[in-house]
Each structure stands twice: as C-alpha cells, then as structure tokens.
Amino acid sequence: MAYDWRKEEYEVTRPGRTRIDYRLEIGRALVPIGVERGFAVLDPDRAELLRAWVSAIIPANGDRPAAGEVGAAEYIDAIVFLTPRLRGVLLDAIDMVERLAAERLARHFVGCSPPEHTTILEAFEANDPLDAFPMVRDLTYEAYYAHPRVLEILRRETGWHYEVAFSGSELEPFDEALLTRVRSVPPRYRNV
C-alpha cells in the first residue's frame, strides 16, 4: 500500500470468526469515486447508519463536506459488494454500533448528536474484534480524498492540486551557484 504506513496492532479476539485482512481482500476491488450510486448490500436502515458513521469520521467543516455528503457510505457498500467476504464484517460492525447506541444512550445511532456519535464510535474502535473500524475509516478516507469536489476545495484552501490533464508544474532550473562551497571541498570518498 503506497505510503500509508501506520503503526497499529491488530488482534483477533472474537471467538468463532476468523479475522479477514481487508487490505488484502480489497486489492482487486476498484470502485469509481465521484459517481452517483445507491446501495447494493446494505438495507436502508443500515445504510443510514453507515452514512452517519462516515460523517462522524470526516465531519463537515466550512466549505468541506462531511464524508457522507460525497458518497463515502455508498462507496463502502460498493467495495463490499465486490468483496463478499467483507460483507459480514460490515454488517456485524453496523449492528454492533447500533447496539452500543441502544445500550449507552437508549437511542438509534442515527438519532444521536455528533458528540454522541464520537463517544459510541470510540467505544467500538476500542473493542473491534473484526477489524471493521479501520476498514470503514480507511475506505472513508479513500472516498473523500479522491472525490473531485473535495480535491477542488483542497486546491482552493491549501494550494495542493493534481489534475490529470494539466500540463505540469514550473520550477526554476537548478542554480549551480548554490554549489560554490561544496565544489571546493576535497574528495570525501575513500580510496581503495
């Protein structure tokens, strides 16, 4: 995986279920981003919960939309549509989040406030036997940071941009005058 290096430990703690490494599982699952789509795997209730979940992972801020507004939940659904072994992981995770909301706040997750969403998801993240939380988080980041609308806002607000068809960047040619000091040093390599 590119340069998304992160120090995390993963353990299987749920009896009777084998942890599936979603990083390997999704290797062949490429889903277009930024296109309108519905849900293929999730029923309406679970779809609504997942949309609230991804919007808690990346909430709206100023011009930047929440992840749920740019199709991150539909994107995750499309990924697990292509990777059937991950469907159970996602379905179980959604149900566990809903159960946590019921146990702690006696409400549906979608009816909770943003701070309550955070509290519930932190509790789930801390006890996530199927490795579902990092899967949903990573896929949410993918859906968000490859979305044309988000990339355009980033260009406007941070200056960073990448356009497929653009003609490249301009930089000043290397200035050899910068090397004046280094050119004067004696050889540094060892003679053998």
């Binding site: 995986m1 590119a2 340069y3 998304d4 290096w5 992160r6 120090k7 990083r23 390997l24 999704i26 290797g27 062949r28 699952a29 490429l30 981003i33 930024g34 808690a56 992972i57 990346i58 909430p59 801020n61 100023g62 955070t118 998801l121 988080r137 990573d138 949410t140 980041y141 993918e142 968000y144 940071y145 490859a146 044309p148 990339l151 980033l154 941070t158 200056g159 960073w160 990448y162 497929v164 653009f166 003609s167 490249g168 960047s169 930089l171 000043e172 040619p173 290397f174 910068l178 090397l179 000091r181 280094v182 050119r183 040093v185 050889p187 540094r188 390599y189 060892r190 003679n191 053998v192």
Partner: protein, 534 residues
C-alpha cells in the same frame, strides 16, 4: 513442447537487469529469448492518468503482490523480527515501473566492506570494473544530474542536466549549509529535457505511481524499446511466461527452461547460455525450485547460499513540517537534493558504514490523511496543518549481509500454477539498528536546521522492502557464494545470475544503477566467452 532451435541466450526476467542485458546482447547480434512472467503495463492503467490515482495505488498498483494479485504474481510471506514489506512488480520493466528514479553509483568503498571495515564481504570486482558500465547505463536510461560530487570519484558528465530542486530542495540546501554538510543535486533517471525519443518531465510529482508520459526511465520505455528493434529482428520477448524450472543436460550444463505459457501449457526453451534476472526474490525462488538428483537442494546451491544473505537496506522517512507552504505537488520524487555527509564509516560512530538522505516533496492528501489525520472533529485541522507544508527526507542506509536473513520457498501458499510462493525472514542486526537510529537523528537535525516547526519519522520496522539484494551473491569462494566475478554459477558453467540477488553487499543507496551496471558487465563477459560457451 520444445522450440525447434537452440537459442544463443535465454534471459529469465525482463526487469532492470534483464532489459539491460537483452539490449546489450541483441546489439551484438546475439540471438536472445527472454521469458517474463508478467506483461506490458497498459499505459491507461498508470494510476496518475486518473484523478483517483491514490486509491489505484492501493489496489492494482500496490507494490505488494499479495494485494494487487496480478496473474503474474506469486504469494510472498514476510516473517522475522522485522518483516519485510515487499515491493516488487512482475511486468516488463520489473520493479522499475514503480520506482522513483533515484539513480546512484556505489562508491569505491562499497565494494570493499570486509577489507576496509572488517564486516560483510568484499565484492570480487571493484568500482573501476563497473565504472564504464555505469556510464553506458546512464546514457541508455537517460540520467539527469551533475558530475563532480565530492563523494564520488571523477567521472564523465551526465547526459541530462539536473532536475529543478523546488522549494523542498532549497529547504534542504539551507539546512545543509547551516550545518556545514555536503549536499549535491541527486542523480535521477528522469528526462529533464527531451531525450532519446522521450519527452521532458513535467514535474507532476509522485513518480512511483506511473509516469504518464514516459519521462521516468522505467525499463519498458528505455532498454526494451530498443532491444525489441535491434538487429536480427530484435529480442524474442515472451510475456506471461512463468518459468517453472531450469533444465540441465546430462553433463550438468544448463539446457534451458520449462515455462507455462499464456494458456498455462508447459513449453521448453533451449539455449547455450541461461541468465537468471528475476530479482532478489524471484531468482532464489526459481533456483530453489529447480531441484534434481544432481542438485537436490536447488540449482547452483552447492554452497547452501541460495536465498541467504537477504539485504533490504535500512530505510525510513524523516518528515519536516514547515510554516510556509512547500508546494508539495511539484517536482520529481527521485530525491531533488541529497547528502552523503554520513556515507562512509566513521570510527567515531558506534556503527559501521553509512547512509544517504534525499529530499522529496510532501505527501498527497490520501496518503497524508492515512498517516496523520485522526478521524473526527480534529481531522480537517490536521490536514490543514500538514498538507502542502511538508518536505519528506528519504533515508537509506547499508545493512550488512547475514545468513539468517533469507528467502525460502513457501509451500503453504502456491501461485496459480501450483508453484510455491516466496517467504522472507528478516531481522535488523545491531549495526543496522544503530545506523538507523543515527540516520533518524541526523535527518531530524537536518529538518530542524531547515526550519521545520515539527518533525516526524516512519521508524525502522517493518523493513521497507524496496531493495531486495544478496540472495545469490557473487564471490571468489564457491563455498560462500553462488556465482563468480563474471556472474557465472560456480556449479553450472553456462548459468549466469545478473540481478539484485548477485550483489554481495548493497551500499547505502538505491541499487538500480548498480544492478544494471552489473548486468551490462555480465553481458559483455558472456560475449567475450562466447566461443567457450558454445
């Protein structure tokens, strides 16, 4: 099943080494056939041709064969205290199709580690033996840079001017000058001006994710373009050809290879000379799989050294965060500016050998978010803090060969032809750990001198497996090495190994330039020995 004609040379692997060898031999009108288990990379699939390139880089362009699962891939398991995060591509061009183009010559001391520092091994050849082939390779690949680096012996000018160093490069120059450290514009296999039929780089950055216009010198657009149109109809390059085993004549000479073709049917190629160029994993995998009564422990393995001495370099990133924007999307990724201030062994250190540091622009949004941005309310603030405000210092140091670090066959994980996968076992030794600690320390010092307001690093483990070397090494002693100074097997007189596996030590820099120089030298030796080799 068998081709009718016996060919002059069979090359197994069309990567950095195989491509260079094929070109070198074909231009001498040698009849060359090359078997490559992968295919040509479809330019339309290069991630950077798409807006969602960062996601594609985590899918079919992943450097891990276990994730992308191309038909040409085989499973790779990683074990040991510091498991190797393997970076390989099985395709025409090999792993160069996903590299960044850092293009270094080794220094003279890199070939004499045992003599100078009492550790590792010496090469049976030296810098002067390879220098002419470095020069040829730099011309053919199209390398940009400046001669005159005080850390290298005098040499010919490079064919292309250095790349612009950009704001991130200037930060490193400022830091080095403040500290009194030497620096130099990095040599990069990237066309800074139109060259040899290839357009100039347009500085889109993020080079490992598929150069859209072929400015990055991947071997499919350099050597192979020429090798296929050389004299005598060019090289016979057969893609999707998975070699199963190297076959032998009754007298013990290599006869050729059995391979599965595109349809999965076994076929045989015979040749007077067989060259293995399948890389640091692929070459030992194939040798260990080529067992026979005469070679029960694998071909060319009387020393027991095949698969041993795996080296990956001590690698990490030290990342500086700067208050002013750094224009992260601009510039090459082959390391605009580098310092070898700490490259040679210094008796004052608590470790042997040394390392290089090279500066790159900062990360792209998805990679950055996955690294530093927490989920939840603080997410956007973290992105604003880091995106377009970082410069990334790539640090690469020498790790010395150790028998325990190795590649083995993995019979628990088979490829689609029923052949065993590869299993690596790796742990940094104490020297590497000390060197790595010093590398991060000096990188942090440099970022601080450059004005960074925040500094982070990637640590050392898991081991970044971008440079897989040493698993069929050259040497003078047949009991301790697999091939001789001409890359010729000690056991099988017409079998040559000329890829990263042949390097006895790995220096402290990216090895592609040296791998190709070794391959070009091997090709010349095969040409010189042609009457003996039949």
């Amino acid at each position: 099943m068998a081709d009718d004609a016996e060919r002059d040379v069979l090359i197994i692997g069309a990567g950095a080494a195989g491509g260079a060898m094929a070109w070198s031999l074909a231009r001498r009108k040698v009849d060359v056939v090359c078997l490559e288990q992968g295919d040509w990379v479809d330019p339309a699939l290069r991630p950077k041709n798409h807006l969602d390139w960062e996601v594609r880089a985590r899918r079919y362009w992943s450097p891990s064969p276990n994730i992308r699962q191309w038909p040409s891939d085989y499973p790779v398991a990683s074990e040991g205290e510091d498991p190797v995060s393997v970076f390989i591509y099985n395709a025409v061009g090999g792993s160069t199709i996903g590299y960044a183009g850092n293009f270094w010559r080794f220094t003279p001391s890199d070939f004499r580690v045992r003599s100078l520092d009492g550790a590792g091994v010496d090469w049976p050849i030296g810098y002067d033996d390879l220098a002419p082939f470095y020069t040829i390779n730099e011309r053919e690949m199209g390398v940009a840079g400046l001669a005159g680096d005080p850390w290298s012996p005098p040499r010919e000018p490079l064919p292309l001017p250095p790349a612009p160093i950009g704001p991130h490069g200037k930060l490193m120059v400022d830091g080095c000058e403040k500290l009194g450290w030497d620096w130099w514009p990095t040599e990069q296999a990237i066309t800074t001006i139109p060259y040899d039929g290839r357009p100039a780089c347009d500085l889109k950055g993020y080079c490992p994710f598929g150069c859209p216009q072929g400015a990055l010198a991947t071997v499919d657009v350099t050597y192979w373009r020429k090798a296929l149109r050389s004299a005598r109809n060019g090289v016979d390059l057969r893609t999707n050809a998975r070699v199963r085993e190297i076959t032998l004549h009754p007298d013990g000479r290599a006869k050729g290879a059995l391979y599965y073709d595109t349809d999965g049917h076994v076929r045989e190629v015979r040749a007077k000379v067989v060259v293995l160029a399948a890389g640091g994993l692929g070459t030992p995998r194939l040798l260990l799989h080529s067992t026979s009564q005469r070679h029960p422990d694998g071909l060319a393995n009387s020393s027991g050294q095949v698969g041993k001495n795996l080296m990956v370099h001590v690698q990490t990133f030290v990342i500086g965060r700067f208050d002013d924007p750094v224009q992260d999307w601009r510039g090459t990724w082959g390391g605009a500016v580098s310092s070898r201030q700490f490259y040679e062994t210094d008796p004052a250190n608590d470790y042997l050998r040394g390392f290089v540091m090279s500066i790159n622009p900062g990360w792209s949004p998805l990679n950055l978010a996955l690294q530093v941005a927490p989920w939840g309310a603080d997410h956007h603030q973290a992105m604003d803090n880091y995106l377009n405000h970082e410069a990334v210092l790539f640090c690469c140091g020498e790790d010395l060969p150790e028998e325990r670090n190795r590649v083995e066959l993995d019979w628990d994980n088979l490829d689609r032809f029923g052949m065993p996968g590869a299993k690596t076992w790796y742990a940094f030794d104490s020297n590497s750990k000390k060197l790595g600690k010093a590398m991060i320390g000096h990188g942090t010092e440099l970022m601080g001198a450059a004005g960074a307001s925040g500094i982070r690093d990637f640590g050392l483990s898991p081991a970044l497996g971008w440079h897989l070397m040493g698993t069929a090494r050259m040497g003078t002693d047949p009991a301790k090495s697999v091939i001789d100074a001409d890359n010729r097997s000690h056991d099988v007189p017409n079998l040559f190994i000329a890829d990263s596996s042949s390097l006895p030590t790995g220096g402290g820099v990216n090895p592609t330039s040296t791998i190709q120089a070794v391959a070009l030298r091997c090709a010349e030796r095969i040409w010189e020995m042609r009457s003996e080799l039949g």
